[in-house]
């Protein structure tokens, strides 16, 4: 008798536990899978755009200007998401635009993360005067208006793909440097770094073998969270006309193209805008998810 009671109590408890955890697990999984799928989809679009895009994104057909999306009255199935003021297919431009947005942001992230990590570790481990100098430069970089600098650059060297990458990288490294420096500083005080020193490891070895591997977690989180930021920044620059030059499609410049016709041809701006929103949101979700996974303090929650 007693036995059965305990068993039922046990199963009941188990069920309850599983019920709660399943609901949360599904939620967590959605929060992971949706952004992952979106990101993967965008990357596939970016890589294979010439094969996927139904039309040439740069050539328009004068007779097909301002066509609404296919699902609306007057739309053609040939142009699923409609056409812009020059008769160019919006879907094709979106697909090619993914290429620009992703490559600009990934490149800028790679550059900023590398510079920021190297400087951050040197400042954090070196301490003293090295640290003071690097951190003052970081302060300057963080207080400089990024948009202004980008505009100056665009004027000086002309707008284009590399100008955007350069403009985003020029200030972007500072955030990494500041965070990595803090981590490196904490790790420099750790006992295993002291032990490495006692064992005869050089400063270079300690920085590369002992400090860097312990920083990778935070670095990955920051990099993922930056994907959205960078795409947004690229879009802003292109919208202002100091980014990717016409006729190369970029999501930012596409939004800008449609702004004069928002009342009668909203789709020109709306679709690239939605694409930006979707990718930025996915990037942020992905970053949050990775942070939760990698941070042991949050794991139990």
């Amino acid at each position: 008798m007693l036995n059965t009671i305990t068993t039922t109590a046990k199963t009941k408890k188990k069920k309850q536990y599983r019920g709660i955890s399943r609901a949360t697990r599904v939620m967590r999984n959605l929060a992971l899978w949706i952004p992952t799928v979106v990101m993967a989809f965008m990357i596939v679009l970016a890589i294979f755009s010439p094969w996927i895009a139904p039309h040439d994104p740069t050539v328009g057909k004068i007779t097909d200007r301002y066509l609404p999306p296919a699902f609306m009255e007057g739309g053609k199935t040939d142009y699923l998401l409609g056409t812009d003021q020059l008769g160019r297919d919006i879907l094709s431009r979106l697909i090619y635009g993914a290429r620009i947005s992703l490559s600009v942001s990934l490149l800028a992230i790679a550059i900023t993360a590398s510079i920021g990590t190297v400087l951050g570790i040197i400042a954090g481990y070196g301490g003293g005067r090295t640290d003071a100098i690097v951190m003052r430069v970081v302060d300057v970089a963080l207080s400089f208006p990024g948009l202004l600098l980008a505009m100056l650059l665009a004027v000086a060297i002309g707008p284009g793909f590399w100008t955007v990458v350069f403009a985003l990288s020029l200030l972007g490294w500072a955030g990494y440097a500041r965070m990595i420096r803090g981590e490196a500083m904490r790790l420099s005080q750790s006992d295993f770094v002291a032990q490495a020193r006692v064992n005869g490891a050089s400063g270079w070895r300690i920085m590369t073998r002992h400090i860097f591997p312990n920083i990778i977690n935070s670095l990955i989180v920051l990099m993922t969270l930056q994907v959205g930021m960078m795409i947004l920044a690229e879009a802003a620059l292109s919208y202002l006309g100091i980014g990717i030059s016409v006729p190369t499609p970029s999501w930012g410049s596409m939004v800008s193209d449609g702004r004069a016709n928002l009342d009668n041809a909203w789709w020109i701006s709306a679709f690239p805008g939605a694409a930006i929103g979707l990718v930025v949101l996915s990037g942020n979700f992905l970053g949050d998810w990775i942070r939760d996974k990698l941070d042991p303090r949050l794991r139990q929650l």
């Binding site: 006992d191 295993f192 020193r197 006692v198 064992n199 005869g200």
Partner: protein, 322 residues
Amino acid sequence: MSNIVLQVEDLHTSFFTRAGEVKAVDGVSFYVREGETFGIVGESGCGKSVTGLSILRLLPEPAGQVVGGKIIMEGKSLLELNPKQMRAYRGKMISMILQDPMSSLNPVYTIGDQIGESVRLHQDLPENMVEAEVIDALRLLRIPSPEMRAREYPFQLSGGMRQRAVGAIAMSCRPRLLIADEPTTALDATIQAQYIALFEDIQEKTNVAIIFITHDFGVVARICDRVGVMYAGKIVETASTRDIFKNPKHPYTKALIQSVPQLDKKDERLFSIEGQPPSLLRLPKGCRFYPRCTVSMDICKEQEPPEVKIGENRSVSCWRVK
């Protein structure tokens, strides 16, 4: 008698702070022989750890600096080596086990990787030989199933195991000298006893000289052959462990031994030394222990006592000792 591995002569180490020069180590001399354990005992802040770090030249620079004296290891003056030569000594000739060995392991590498790192750093060996050395080192520390342990991460090991893994790193290159800075403080009594037995075993196998830094006279009695009692940056008495316990000469040594709890004296209140050690920024003119000494004389206040040699292996700095 066996060779002297390390000789420290009149070592002075200071920290230059905003408040002034802190004389953390103020004229310390001692030596260690092959296969011998020399204990440095003293209360917190008396300069024990700084002595250890001075030997390895790992003081937190630029504040901490060796300002005088000699450190000679097998004929080589360590203070004259350039940084690169000194690095080659660390881990290879002199190893150190730090105060909290639990956190001395890098969480992102396996135990085998970390022991191997030290081997690779100092010896040019092919990869399979490195592995053999790693297993050897683990075996030396009596870690069961070393092949398996080598592939585990620090978080997978128990505290005692981690402790031994740290020991294995220190012993991986078969150093001539091992500096152990309070390695047993963080352990409970049983594990402590095991760990000390392990040290003795290792010493027997490798003939390594050990400098054992501790504040625990009980640990001294178990492992040390000779002891230096340190007070406010100075070694006030050096003697064999036997002599120290049987016949302590310096009032400070006497007081320290009296304050060790003993099982046979039940209902007595434990002895304690009154007062605080002097500030190393403003050392008294005379004997450093004078303000706390129960047998002080007038001269103690005025003049520092000279080091008096008693026999072969013993020296005391006290005006009472003639």
